[in-house]
Point group: C2
Chain length 347, copies 2
Amino acid sequence: MAATKAYAAQTAQSPMAPWSLDRREPTPHDVEIDILYCGVCHSDLHTVRNEWGGTVYPAVPGHEIVGRVTKVGDHVKRFKVGDLAAVGCLVDSCRECANCKQGLEQYCLVGMVGTYNGKDKYNGGVTYGGYSKQIVVTEDFVLTVSGKQPLEGIAPLLCAGITTYSPLRYWKVGKGTKVGVLGLGGLGHMGVKLAASFGAEVTMLSHSPSKEADAKRLGAHNFVLTKDESQVAKMNGYFDFILDTVSAEHDYNLYLNLLGTNGTMVCVGAPPTPAQIPAFNLIFGRRSIGGSLIGGIPETQEMLDYCAANNIVSDVEVIDIKDINEAYERMLKGDVKYRFVIDMATL
Amino acid sequence: MAATKAYAAQTAQSPMAPWSLDRREPTPHDVEIDILYCGVCHSDLHTVRNEWGGTVYPAVPGHEIVGRVTKVGDHVKRFKVGDLAAVGCLVDSCRECANCKQGLEQYCLVGMVGTYNGKDKYNGGVTYGGYSKQIVVTEDFVLTVSGKQPLEGIAPLLCAGITTYSPLRYWKVGKGTKVGVLGLGGLGHMGVKLAASFGAEVTMLSHSPSKEADAKRLGAHNFVLTKDESQVAKMNGYFDFILDTVSAEHDYNLYLNLLGTNGTMVCVGAPPTPAQIPAFNLIFGRRSIGGSLIGGIPETQEMLDYCAANNIVSDVEVIDIKDINEAYERMLKGDVKYRFVIDMATL
């Protein structure tokens, strides 16, 4: 066991503050990584404040991790000391269920092991995430990273990137698809970049008029101001697919109405209250609403490789770890373009 | 214009009672049909009691119509006097929009013309349905019927049949699919018969233990009593597809949990209150919930031909039209196996 510097919340009411945790000695299948950058996801905040329930304290969040390999176990094949490496939202799963065998570890039927607040198979207790100097992860859940792009821009791909990439691929968004992306935050800005790169016609649906220019810079072809009823009404029946990235309460029916016949809206954000949907809003137009959770390991690697090949990174604001509490407050106000990333050298 | 005997509701509070309406003289493209049988759909009752709003009185419901051709216009090609013919839930549409051109007239972007309480293009006012001696319908919306099966069993195929056939086909239910059918009424019993005939493994999900034997006779392989929590819990994650035929209020989440990864639940019944669905119930397992509305004219013909070829009809209880008000009360109690059909000779 090696002591590692970290930032943790000690209770749901505590600010994030320095802490020290123990990482396991790498087993023969493990990769030890020196963390260089860690993205700041809204899930981090939900967890440290126990907004979803079930948080075990001290809590060390962070699941958008990019770093450099410092040690490998004897059986590790794909990594050697000095390689770049990345870790996303999960660090293990049962590996034996039908979903794991298909590379859908995020839907592991036994239960995936989250990168933080997951059940630690090795040390007991819970897993600790990327707001720390080092992490030790079994090789099969470590991803390879190209050295050609800025590492701070790669970090958010591990959650914001795969969370949008996976549903766009699963629902076959591409040339000829009219896509609406609802919400321009960490997820939404990746949704716009990826959908546009897949050849789709992309419309940004946002309640903030100030985001129009930026949405278009990111690749959106159209912009609809969602608080302007007449702009929204003009798009009734327009979209084949809507990617709903909003975690705040909102009226799903307003956006279901924008779907054309056979259209699908997919939620990747989870508001605190249930969606209220009259069945008729699905029946007329044969519409569907679905959900999607991050992505499996093979698809996450595919996404990283795709982004490297197509020069896609996240737009980030790099912060020192001492500023994380302020960053959370700014994130709550939507005051970030479009993802905070912690420079772990500041820990 | 020809006076035609009918049964109508004069107000939302009135019982169904004899009335007389005028059918148009057949135009060159029209088919005049002597109605032999008309099925009794729950939508009939919703309409005569104005439960969906917008009912124009007098209201003559009925959209599961089988009869014999008595007159055809000069340009009619597919029918001659004496042929059997059927009319379902729609008697016209714009015929020019993208959906109509694909044979998806039920999703006509201008608005389909319902068989009753639709906007009558010829006579003005609203359309009158099949609780009448005769109907005149433009040829393109008249279906052909095989004479090999009992006509009273064919009538409900025009709504209950196509409403279940269409989503089962659209979502590719067949050999290897594990299907749950929720609710054993007019729609549910057709859902079981059709899904089983497509080669799927069919499980009846019903709150009534008395329906098990009948569900199995109709083709279900398994039966789950939905008010027994332990029986339901055993099926968590089991189904690829659930056809939800229930129009009464129910907890959608209970059934969403029965879907496996990538599973879809499709609603063909519309309860009076919205479905309440936490986004996490869709996100975990990449599940979807969708809706489906009857079927277009080509698919309705395909369904009738399929049922004729596979010897599928509806299980019906034939009634005299004077007993329609009592039939409505029994329908409300679920006391029908599984569809009332009016013998129009009794009018």
